[in-house]
Amino acid sequence: MPGETENQSDKSLDASGLLCPEPLMLVRSELRSMKAGETLLVQATDPSTSRDLTNLCRFMGHELVSESQESECWTFLIRKG
């Protein structure tokens, strides 16, 4: 359950059911409205989201704080750089 982590993040985004690159587009747009240091919790079901968000964070200078998988569901915590 992501509940505990969710409480600790500033914002959250549920991209479950969406196919890549759509989760990346949403995350990118959400991060633009956030301040540096704030955290975003992302949930997704497309396995490619892991690769996409890793590359996006490297490109934009954000930190991928954590990544976890539970069956078909991935949870990411990103801190805006």
Binding site: P21, N55, L56, F59
Partner: protein, 172 residues
């Protein structure tokens, strides 16, 4: 419009202008410089945003490298972030470094053709300072060999872009 300095060859701005004017509308893709790290983001058809091909800083070599990736990627890969490749940053295991070389072979070979066309010196990149010189040399040989094949069989967007670069160079 094009101010080529003989000493420095083509610059990143000129490469961007060239790519965007020749491919921008036709392929719904724009080349951007100034990034801290390169990234390809596919077109967002829902929001009518063209694909973005980002290269590092104002480095002409980085621009040509990313364009090579884009030329090699077919329509399916061009719908994926970074053409569907996961970048593994150094430090890499030996296997990871070998995989990196394998993934980069065609791209760096085509990049060398682009460099040649516009007069920029090319040297292959291991993207990793910890790699042994012998391994880099081995890769360099494969890139040169692969570039020979490109020269024979180059076609499509890659061929067109080489001609565009040659045109700019000949106008200098």
């Amino acid at each position: 419009m094009l101010d080529i300095s003989h000493s420095q060859g083509i610059n990143a701005r000129q490469i961007s202008e060239l790519f965007n004017s020749r491919f921008g509308i036709r392929y719904n893709t724009l080349l951007h410089g100034g990034a801290r790290e390169p990234l390809y983001i596919p077109a967002d058809l829902h929001r009518n945003v063209p694909a973005e091909l980002h290269f590092t800083s104002d480095y002409p070599r980085s621009a040509l490298h990313e364009i090579a990736h884009w030329c090699i990627a077919g329509p399916e890969r061009r719908r994926l972030v970074d053409f569907g490749y996961r970048y593994v940053p150094p430090p890499r295991t030996l296997d990871q470094q070998r995989q990196f070389f394998q993934q980069e072979l065609q791209t760096q070979a085509l990049e060398s053709i682009f460099c040649e066309a516009c007069g920029i010196p090319f040297s292959p990149s291991a993207d990793n300072f910890a790699v042994e010189a012998s391994m880099v040399l081995g890769f360099a040989g494969k890139v040169a060999e692969c570039a020979k094949q490109w020269r024979i069989g180059i076609s499509g967007r890659a061929d067109f872009f080489v001609r565009c670069l040659q045109d700019i160079k000949s106008q200098a």
